[in-house]
């Protein structure tokens, strides 16, 4: 390993940014905190993007590694031990100065600090802790901080770090224990899930202490009633507590289902949202993780079941999906002649969104017999086409949860319909003003008992037209949660919702 001692800050920045860019998370959302005298920074619950890189992705945080030295040899990772690259490390003060000076100029919302494993997990975690401690106390930084928890590090260190950070993450990377064993020899699922569970517990305890409403299932977490592992079966999601979903007829179920609260995740908010700027909180913006898409052979269905389990059992705020990029030439890694699976990644984000804000379950979108998403149609259109019998729905009567399931109607437009129809019955021409994408919605809706004239009602004809509209959009792939954190709904942002 070639360790460079006397590089300039600019050279280090180039290396340690290039080494961090494959981690996709760059959001600064989940916590609202005002500025305070004597400090620099505040935080907005919906996050702020500051730029867009040449790959089209949002830049919100100074995303860097503390060091790209690593004792492990994960096959897919550019920083793996066996790669012959230049290694370097920042000093904590260098990181603090960059963060502060970038922030003052409005380049960033804060810091996303990750690291290769230097010597031991404990030593690495200690370095991250020291950096955050300096940044918060000596440099008086009150903006957003996202930090990695290093698997295998002493829980006490993780706990202390969590009180300085806004968000923490531990990347699961590969959805199965088997995949991990093959591609990340230094890691085990247990090693990754242990800090994840610790962080979840810390968040729940704090929410309880602060008198916040606990998300569904959180009290059982407190009693540590959920085991880490369930029996791993061939081809199934192997995280615990994933319930199969067999019920089919949605109207009753959607109506009776609790939890589809406009603008809020159905899994509940594991995190604090708005907080005081006078005290410190434990990971107030919640935790996230990342799954690599396409490095191993899991189906989309399998990925979604794992994500669902992570949301339900580990209280994650976000699961990020990262199309696999073959940065190392390694016989255990798949060849990707068509480039990284970006469309697949995009579909997973769409489906993830549907699960969190629309009340869909993984089992409704896909199943064992149809384990992968349609390339031509987004998951919601695809679902609606397979369930044509449930349509058309009446715009002027259908409950919020049912409106949400109509293609072309999103969270905002469903909310607007619900409030606008109190005044007068809505007509098709009103829907456009409200933000409904009529081009997609017309096949699935009625206004005052009538469908729009000359709209086809058979599956094939509808599919044809929807696919035509979709094809254009996919050329850009700009709509996924990865690109813009206009995730207005990551937390309830009143202004945005009312608009």
């Amino acid at each position: 390993m070639l360790i460079q001692e006397n590089l300039s800050t600019e050279e280090k920045l180039k290396i340690l940014t290039g080494a961090a860019r494959y981690d996709v998370a760059c959001t600064s959302s989940g916590v609202g905190r005002s500025g305070k005298e004597g400090s620099l920074g505040n935080s907005r619950p919906d996050g702020i993007c500051h730029s867009f890189a040449a790959d089209g992705r949002c830049i919100s945080l100074l995303k860097i590694l503390f060091t790209n030295q690593c004792i492990y040899d994960c096959r897919y990772c550019i920083n793996r031990r066996s790669n012959d690259t230049v290694r370097t490390a920042f000093t904590p003060d260098e990181i603090c100065r960059l963060t502060i000076e970038f922030y003052r100029r409005n380049y960033i919302e804060g810091l996303f600090l990750s690291s290769g494993v230097l010597d031991t997990p404990d030593y690495t975690m200690e370095q991250l802790y020291r950096t955050l401690y300096l940044l918060r106390n000596k440099y008086c930084f009150n903006g957003y901080i996202h930090v990695k928890a290093i698997p295998g590090a002493d829980p006490a260190l993780i706990e202390m770090t969590g009180f300085l950070a806004d968000r923490m993450s531990v990347n699961l990377e590969l959805p199965t224990a088997d995949g991990l064993k093959r591609l990340a020899p230094g890691k085990t699922r247990e090693k990754i899930l242990t800090p994840m569970r610790q962080i979840q517990l810390g968040i729940v305890r704090q929410m309880e202490k602060e008198g916040r409403q606990l998300p569904p299932g959180a009290s059982s977490v407190l009693k540590e009633g959920i085991p880490f592992f369930s029996q791993e079966k061939e081809g199934r999601a192997s995280l615990p507590g994933v319930r199969g979903n067999t019920r089919k007829n949605f109207p009753e179920r959607a109506v009776s289902r609790q939890g589809v609260i406009p603008g809020k995740s159905v899994y509940g908010g594991f995190g604090m949202g708005r907080i005081s700027n006078r005290r410190s909180y434990f990971v107030p913006a919640g935790q996230s993780t990342q799954l690599i898409v396409g490095a191993t052979s899991e189906s989309d269905y399998h990925m979604m079941r794992v994500a669902e389990a992570l949301y339900q059992n580990f209280g994650l705020k976000r699961v990020f999906y990262s199309a696999f990029i073959r940065v190392n030439d390694d016989s255990l890694l798949p060849e990707l002649p068509g480039g990284p699976p970006l469309l697949r990644e995009h579909r997973l984000y769409q489906a993830d969104w549907l699960m969190r804000y629309y009340g869909f379950q993984a089992g409704e979108l896909l199943d064992e017999r149809r384990p992968n998403f349609n390339i031509y149609l987004d998951p919601k259109c695809d679902w609606a086409l397979r369930n044509l019998a449930l349509f058309p729905v009446e715009i002027n009567r259908a409950p919020y949860e049912v409106l949400l399931r109509v293609p072309g109607i999103g969270v905002k437009s469903a909310m607007r319909i619900v409030s606008a129809r109190r005044q007068t019955a809505l007509r098709f021409e009103d829907l456009k003003k409200i933000g409904v994408v009529l081009k997609r919605a017309v096949y699935f809706i009625m206004c005052s008992g009538r469908m729009m004239e000359s709209v086809p009602i058979d599956e094939d004809a509808i599919a044809d037209r929807l696919i035509g509209a979709e094809r254009k959009k996919n050329l850009e792939l700009g709509g996924s949660g990865l690109y813009r954190q206009l995730s207005l709904f990551d937390d309830f942002h009143l202004e945005a919702v009312k608009k």
Binding site: G56, I59, F102, I325
Partner: protein, 260 residues
């Protein structure tokens, strides 16, 4: 038809709303316009409205109490729009607002409500984008300086955001087109400077930031993109070209001490 000609500011327009409303000529017989933007037509008379803080405050108070905070934020933003019809859009919206009450902002099918909504949103969207994309350069003495050139008059929407997050910094946001600057010297307060006083600022605007951290930021910006995912179309859709000339990361390092 009586046309009330208002000064071009929220205060001026709200004063116009007050006068038009209190004139008791009937909503059908009045309309509002901004001075200098109105084309005189046959069959209408004009009345100049003097901007007057107590009138404006009365309107604001009534809107907040009888309609809602949200409705107030709509009309305030509309007043910052450059659209010629803005004063009248506000007035027409308020007719429904005072009639319907707090629910009015939900009734987008009403054209007058939708008009105010859409205008307010255009202003809010631009303010939000600038909150993201505005870049400060450090001048001598540690003063931070950001030139902007927005379509809408959004400086007053940007200043509170930066005052909250940077209470200890001295900074200036300078609107090149309107020759007006928001100035913050510490704490939560800020003030406007306009006209001649802003002349030195216009000379500062439009230069490439060559500071140490600007160079580092450009290095970060080019290293963070994943080459295998290059996507200029997507980048452009999120970050329209017209913002870029003022953004540090898109300025050419070129001449002089460029990165080797």
């Amino acid at each position: 038809m009586m046309v009330f000609l208002c000064e071009n500011s929220p205060e001026g327009i709200f004063s116009g709303v007050y006068d038009a409303w209190m004139s008791r000529l009937g909503h059908k017989n009045v309309s509002l316009a901004v001075q200098g933007e109105y084309n005189y037509t046959l069959f209408s008379q004009c009345r100049e409205v003097e901007a007057c803080s107590w009138k404006a405050e009365k309107v604001v108070k009534a809107v907040r109490e009888k309609i809602s905070e949200l409705a107030y934020s709509w009309i305030y933003r509309c007043a910052l729009s450059p659209e010629p019809g803005r004063a009248d859009v506000i007035y027409r919206f308020l007719i429904y607002g005072f009639h319907i009450g707090s629910g009015v902002t939900g009734y987008l099918q009403i054209p007058e409500v939708h008009g105010a909504f859409a205008m307010n949103r255009a202003v809010a969207d631009e303010a939000h984008l600038l909150m993201e994309f505005v870049r400060f350069e450090e001048l001598a003495g540690g003063i931070l300086f950001a030139p902007i050139n927005p379509k809408n008059d959004v400086t007053a929407l940007l200043m509170p955001h930066f005052c909250d997050r940077m209470p200890e910094e001295r900074f200036i946001i300078y609107d090149e087109k309107r020759k007006r600057a928001g100035v913050h010297t510490g704490g939560r307060e800020w003030y406007f400077v306009s006209g001649e006083e802003t002349r030195p600022l216009s000379e500062l605007a439009g230069k490439t930031d060559r500071g140490e951290y600007a160079v580092l930021w450009r290095a970060f910006f080019s290293s963070i993109a994943v080459p295998e995912r290059k996507n200029p179309v997507c980048q452009r859709s999120h970050l329209p070209l017209h913002f870029r000339s003022r953004m540090t990361e898109f300025q050419q390092q070129a001449d002089g001490k460029s990165g080797k």
